[in-house]
């Protein structure tokens, strides 16, 4: 019955197709993506299943799974997909929709992956460039893993791999605006989506 209900109108599928530039309906479930994916063994829902869940409008199950967060965007799957679906872009679309809906899988691993990305982006916002040593230090601090890679750091610093000094771009003002405007774009998209949801109710 679930299948029949969701086949009528699948807004989730439409959104994923629109965001990813692929048509998920083209997937015929051969599973080549799963056997190619280097991390499918770590995923709660495999890439092949992700395609099927999208067809069945199972957005909540997908948002709660670790799968899209584990995708490395290596594109091994799409290189072999006989239906030429850009699977990493599909994974990305689902992940972005999950972030918009503010639903994260209940896993400390995913929380720490997300924290890493948050710190990375905040660092670009602050400097315009990446500051590797600070990224590592801040990640360890904010995830409570004070001694992670502690054996590596001195050697890497000694070899001049990790620098103590950060670089900054000159046009930080323009960059600040770029971040603010993009934030505004994201919230505008969310607002129109929420409004259309409201109307359809």
């Amino acid at each position: 019955m679930l299948v029949l209900k969701n086949l009528q109108h699948n807004e989730f599928l439409e959104k994923v197709n629109q965001k990813s530039g692929s048509n998920v309906l083209n997937c015929y479930q051969c599973g080549k993506c799963v056997s190619t994916c280097p991390v499918s063994g770590y995923m709660e829902i495999t890439p092949r299943q992700v395609m099927q869940y999208i067809k069945l409008a199972e957005d909540e199950k997908l948002f709660a799974a670790n799968s899209t967060w584990y995708c490395l965007t290596c594109s091994s799957c799409s290189a072999r997909c006989p239906r030429e679906i850009e699977i990493p872009r599909v994974m990305e679309a689902v992940r972005h929709l999950a972030i918009e809906a503010n639903i994260l899988p209940d896993s400390s691993k995913i929380k720490s992956i997300k924290k890493f990305h948050d710190i990375f982006i905040s660092m670009i916002k602050r400097y315009g460039k990446m500051f590797e040593l600070r990224l590592m230090a801040e990640f360890n601090l904010r995830t409570g893993q004070f001694f992670k890679d502690i054996a590596l750091a001195p050697k890497a610093i000694g070899k001049g791999k990790l620098k103590f000094k950060s670089e900054k771009i000159k046009n930080l003002k323009g960059l600040k605006r770029l971040f603010e405007m993009n934030q505004k774009l994201e919230s505008e998209i969310q607002n129109t989506e929420n409004a259309s949801k409201h109307e359809s109710k």
Binding site: S75, I99, I169, G174
Partner: protein, 291 residues
């Protein structure tokens, strides 16, 4: 070669973890009389976090660099880092294809209007397509005879295939051809484009140790002396974390991991002391002792 000058986007790691890549890229271009013009005030392309978290920002950050690159009058923008290259190229392709997307994202960038008239290439691609094997061969004064090299491409230099539009997404040969033109032997092995775990290096290290160990296992089995790479993330995962992998998996690899530009510079006659080989964690000098 017509255009002996290119616009250069270093990417953040070029001034940190992959200093030796940029340094030897410069040496190689010096030998070949190619001028490099760095994009003034370039910013981080966002890789990989921006595209994991948000769509628009992941396009806006590279777009600013593309706009700044268009101010310089070169036809090609060259990027050493595979991840920066992939983000920049994907952004370019999507902006060129979709005018309304271009207008939308451009409204967030202060630095001018995007025109789309600069080609984006990885340095590997530039070496293979623009410099060419024959010109590289001509510059070799110290052939790397008997050196068995595993050319490791990783994911993003040739994938996604509709973005990279270069070489094969599964079994590329461009770096192998370059290495062979230096007089070395490029070893055939099946893991040239397997993923090393990339940006999980810090946030999900276990996966990196697992994936990178598979690559090192195969390279070792195929009898390579050294691994050549074209990506700072691959380099640091395979080299900096090699000892951790050995300890965890109970292995003994001791395989040095260098940038293909370091081997080019060596073959072009630069002394080893100028190649920043000491930057690597796994000892490189033993393997290169005879050169």
């Amino acid at each position: 070669m017509k255009d002996k000058k290119f616009t250069y986007y270093p990417g953040c790691s070029a001034h940190g973890t992959s200093e030796e890549y940029e340094h030897t890229l410069n040496l190689v271009c010096k030998s070949l009389n190619i001028k490099i013009e760095e994009i003034p005030d370039w910013n981080c392309c966002g890789a990989t976090s921006a595209h994991v978290m948000t769509e628009n920002l992941a396009l806006a950050l590279p777009m600013r660099n593309l706009i700044l690159a268009e101010r310089l009058e070169n036809s090609t923008m060259v990027i050493p880092c595979a991840a920066c290259y992939s983000r920049m190229k994907e952004t370019k392709i999507r902006l060129d294809e979709d005018f309304s997307l271009r207008t939308k994202i451009n409204s967030t960038v202060d630095d001018g209007d995007y025109k789309g008239n600069v080609a984006v290439k990885s340095f590997l691609q530039y070496c293979f397509e623009d410099i060419g094997i024959e010109d590289i061969k001509e510059k070799v004064v110290k052939p790397l005879k008997d050196l068995k090299v595993a050319c490791y491409y990783g994911c993003l230099l040739t994938r996604p295939k509709n973005i990279a539009q270069f070489d094969s997404p599964e079994y590329p040969i461009s770096m192998d051809k370059i290495i062979e033109s230096l007089g070395a032997t490029a070893v055939e092995y099946p893991f040239k484009t397997e993923c090393c775990g990339a940006s999980f290096s810090i946030s999900n290290t276990e996966i990196v140790l697992d994936l990178s160990s598979r690559i090192l296992d195969v390279v070792k089995d195929c009898g390579a002396d050294i691994i050549a790479v074209g990506c700072p993330l691959c380099q640091s995962n395979l080299d900096m974390r090699q000892k951790q992998i050995e300890e965890k998996m109970n292995r003994d690899y001791k395989i040095p991991v260098v940038y293909f530009t370091q081997l080019m510079a060596l073959a072009f006659g630069y002394p080893k002391s100028e190649l920043k080989l000491k930057k690597h964690m796994v000892n490189v000098e033993k393997v290169l002792a005879s050169f």
